[in-house]
Amino acid sequence: MSIIGIAIGITTIVALGLITTGMEDLVSSSLNDVGAEITVSNSSSVGTNAGLIDSSIVEEMKNRTGVIDAAGSLTVTEMNMDRLKSRDSDSSGFATTVVGLASEKLYMMGIDNVDGKIYENGSRDAIIGAEYAEVNNVSIGDDLSVQGKEFNVTGIFETGSPFVDSGIYVPLDTLQDVTDNDKVSCILVKTGEDVNDSAISDKIEDDYENFTTLTSEEISSIADNVLGILDTATLAVSALAIIVGGIGIINAMVMAVYERTKEIGVLKSVGWKSRKILTMILGETLVLTMLSGIVGSIFGILIPEVGLRLFNVTDFALGYSPKTFILAFGITIIVGGIYPAYKASRFAPTEALRYE
């Protein structure tokens, strides 16, 4: 019974620990900044060109002081499409981001390592993120449909950013062609070293009405804020897990020790010192903790893993960190082991012998 009680406490701490660490990993990797330092977009929401930018402005951006490169990118969203012609897909209902970007500018999205080969501009080839490939079971050589047109997958890449890795990348000119549009959604701007990105970005906003910019510093500041909030949230969840699990563990251990009150009274009456009783109970506690810890950790891993598979959650992975297990075992030994053992060693012998 004690093992079950302690194991439940450890399961709670481990399971919640894995989930919160997984959340932290997911958010911090999602917020990884990409190659470009400044992203320029059009914030106007009126007219036929709402949200779009003329391609000619890309060159203007490139020629600005402090800027070493600029690339226009066109983004379209594919909703509920039958992406795979060659096989039956169960991924309907997904919204996929299709990005049109010239092949030589892919580095500005952090795409610099492609398994297979990068598309040529003007071709009907596409490269896909590793996450997209895994979720939709698409591999090199497969065909997929963008805006009703067929594209051939020539490569798969992985940047570590789930936003980028879950997208489809195609040549900008081809995407403009199939969408019958010669504009871009945003301009990625790469600045030189030792340049003040904020000053350049402010200047762009001053020079172009309706243009908004986002610098990588602003992105990391947003990331820091989000991670800060998440840190507080995970701390709260961990604290809750520790309280719930810790109380369960203390309860189980205290019960186990109290059941032996009379035995402890007998040991005291025959001359055992408090220190020897403390050592004995601690030794037993350690064995109990280890057994419960192993059982609890197994369930702490199994329950969320099975849960993720049961609900078909593929874009979230548990965060395995030694910290979680050290925390669970540490709490068990300290609060669940030392405290009850200390209490037991301090029992007055007459009280202990009277205990029923």
């Binding site: 009379k262 035995e263 009274g265 007998v266 040991l267 005291k268 009456s269 025959v270 001359g271 055992w272 010192k273 408090s274 020897k276 007055a348 012998p349 007459t350 012998l353």
Partner: protein
């Protein structure tokens, strides 16, 4: 000056009271004051901030090798007195000396209990998941005795209480009388000078109770151990050489039976 000193003033042995030294009596015979093994001076035990007085001024000497019964109704304080004698509890006021050791002053009494005292409880208090041998071994574990010596000592004492064939049995396989025999073996294994038995026959039928008392008396004689039994049974009390009657925390009678 605190209450302790006031109550005990003049109650302790003084210089004129020299134990074990001979003197010539009025009849010309040689006498000596035998030093008691146990001496209690104005022992008071209070509970609930003095609201309950379990012992109310006990003065008592018990000599080495005596067989003493302490009798009294429930709540009279006899078990409290036994706990004081066994160094399981300390008095609120007063002094207790056993074998020259001041139990009130002594901070760690576990060593004293281990060397001097053997307890037999009404409900035997054996550890259920240990064998007879292991239960008897418990008091020897903190002594640092060698394994060989320990084994010999335990075997001897198990033989003495007649449980040789049960040494590997667990307590739940034994009868009530056999369990109490194990408890007696456990109480004797460390060669104590005092055996304290709290209602040792209380949970046994009369025939088994008699056998257990006979065994206790036999052990008392064989090992010359001081035997103190707490009971509320007049028949049991009468078997002792000396009977001390307690009522409301005070000794109301102290007599030798033969």
């Amino acid at each position: 000056m605190d209450d302790n000193q006031i109550v005990n003033e003049g109650a302790y042995p003084d210089d004129e009271y020299i134990y074990n030294e001979t003197f010539i009596g009025e009849d010309g015979e040689e006498y000596y004051y035998e030093e008691p093994l146990i001496s209690l001076f104005n022992v008071v035990k209070e509970y609930d901030k003095g609201m309950v007085k379990a012992l109310n001024g006990i003065n008592l000497d018990i000599f080495e090798g005596e067989f003493v019964s302490i009798i009294g109704p429930s709540g009279s304080g006899k078990s409290t007195l036994l706990n004081m004698l066994g160094a399981l509890d300390k008095p609120t006021r007063g002094k207790i000396f056993i074998g020259g050791i001041d139990l009130v002053k002594e901070k760690d009494l576990s060593e004293f209990r281990q060397e001097k005292i053997g307890f037999v409880f009404q409900l035997h208090n054996l550890i259920p998941n240990l064998s007879v041998f292991d239960n008897v071994q418990i008091p020897l574990l903190p002594t640092g005795m060698s394994n060989k010596e320990m084994k010999e000592r335990i075997s001897e004492i198990i033989r003495a209480v007649g449980l040789e064939d049960k040494r590997n049995q667990r307590p739940n396989k034994l009868s009530g009388g056999q369990r109490q025999r194990v408890a007696i073996a456990r109480a004797l294994v460390n060669n104590p000078s005092i055996i304290l038995a709290d209602e040792p026959t209380g949970s046994l039928d009369s025939k088994t109770g008699e056998l257990i008392l006979n065994l206790l008396m036999e052990m008392h004689e064989r090992y010359n151990v001081t035997l103190i039994i707490v009971t509320h049974d007049n028949g049991v009390a009468a078997l002792a050489e000396r009977t001390i009657k307690i009522k409301e925390g005070q000794i109301i009678e102290d007599k030798y039976n033969y």
